[in-house]
Amino acid sequence: MAYQYRLNDLDINSDIELPELYCSHQASGTNSIHIATGKTPARLDNAHYSNPIYSIDQSTILLTIENCARYLIHNGRKIIIEPFRQADSNSVRNFLLGPALSLLFHQRKLLTVNASAMIIDGMGVLFIGNSGTGKSTMAASLQQQGFLPMGDTLVTLNTGADGSILVHSGLPHLKLWSDSLNALQLDQQQLAPVRTELNKFIYPLKEITAMPVPLARIYQLTEDRLDLDAMRFERANPLESMTLFSHNISHSGLMPHMGLTQQRFQYASAVIKKTPVFRFFRPWNLEQLKPTVDALLQHMTSQPEQP
């Protein structure tokens, strides 16, 4: 194998260089993931579910990103990439190291969440929310306050031996739009774009923990459409928590087609049983980042009230 990496206790052998991952110098185990380039089918003949992007059969998922590449994700063990002509390599890696690996993790029954994660006072905190609601920007702001981010891509959760929910770091970077980088006064000149010609950049994290930490809280980042300046926290009740969290499991909508409906319910109920979920209504305005972070840090030191 040309390149060896390690992520979430998993060894990855890759035919292509993946500078976004940490190199590994250990011999890979038998349970490793193999990433190769090669021919892939245009569709899966025995697919039981298809849409313009995904085709799913018993053991394989075909992910097709137009103008970029096809990814054949097989049995939690192997991903074959077929880049399309003129695809840029940043794009090919972006969809490999995001959705393709996340789907492979699902095949391995690993719970991946669409969240940015932080360590605050030794405990894990997740920020969830719809795409574009500022999860990564929040993580970068907190890093500037001295807290340690755990990434915003391929963050995974599992249950520890003592029954606690553990957060595992994702990829050692945050993905930030140029607007956010500017607001945070971070220089984007040296950063690689997520995709060539896209003004969203990979901001590397110099320090990221390899050790999982117990999950303490989950915050859903949102705004009050009736009062855009509102800044308040509301604890979600168990049913709301279940819904909010379930929606933020990676590929949540595809899990039923992967035979993982029961798994999704079990994942989500285990997490919300142990973890308070808060809605954080705040102005989604980059000029308001400082007071937003201040309010959040103050809330984190408080005892969670009952829903």
Partner: protein, 288 residues
Amino acid sequence: MKRIFWLASYPKSGNTWLRLFLNNLLHDNEEPVDINDMPLSNTIASAREPLDQMISLESGELFAHEIDQLRPAMYEAWSNNSTCKLYCKCHDAYTWNSNGEPLLSSRATRGALYLVRNPLDVVVSYAHHNNCNIDKAIRQMANTHHGLANSHTGQYKQLRQRLLSWSGHVHSWQNAVRIPVHTMRYEDMQLDTINTFTKATRFLQLDNNQADIEQALEACRFDKLREQEVRSKRFRETPAGAKAFFRKGLVGSWRESLTDNQVCSIIDTHGSVMYLLGYLDSQGNPVY
């Protein structure tokens, strides 16, 4: 199955009024519908979240032209997964994606109610809506590449919408021959209200009687909507930075706001379409 009726318009052309009318028409309570809690027709064609759910990807990491390739399938899924007719707001011009498919899939579309308003009035309202000056709004409405949610440095909550120029928007919908389109002028909604809304109701395949229609119109009279907006402090669809959503809503209020040069500029750019829609007389003078 074709279940979607698009409630389509260039912005500030009466779309919200139409949707509030439909909400009042189709709900059972005596009380007018809360402007911030419309039970029906709340979906907009450019909503990002449903697309993200369908594709299980961060759509912000796709380029607008790539998203356009996925949008027809999204509307087909909306249509196929629904058991009833859907009334969906839409500000997009009627355009095709690079696969040669209409963005608003014909396989999902039952019809489109296209609202149009005198551009002399639109420009004043659009400037207020975007918190910009009138000259900028005039330039935007003349720009054939104008769109909404079109940033390249951040991510909008909505998907990119190509508006084209104001004239281009009108042309695009008049040329949408693959789907039934019923065009409705804002001026007729104001000046021949019951007749205009009754025709719209019939086009949308609703069988409500005249009394229902009159009651729904009463519930969404402009002064009542503005009163609700003041009482609730904010209408949820008001863009950040805009002071109020329901401002004047009058026909011909441009006469108090536009300079002669601004009027000439708009007529120079959009005169031929304005004439076809009855906004200019045969001498080229504004009708309203």
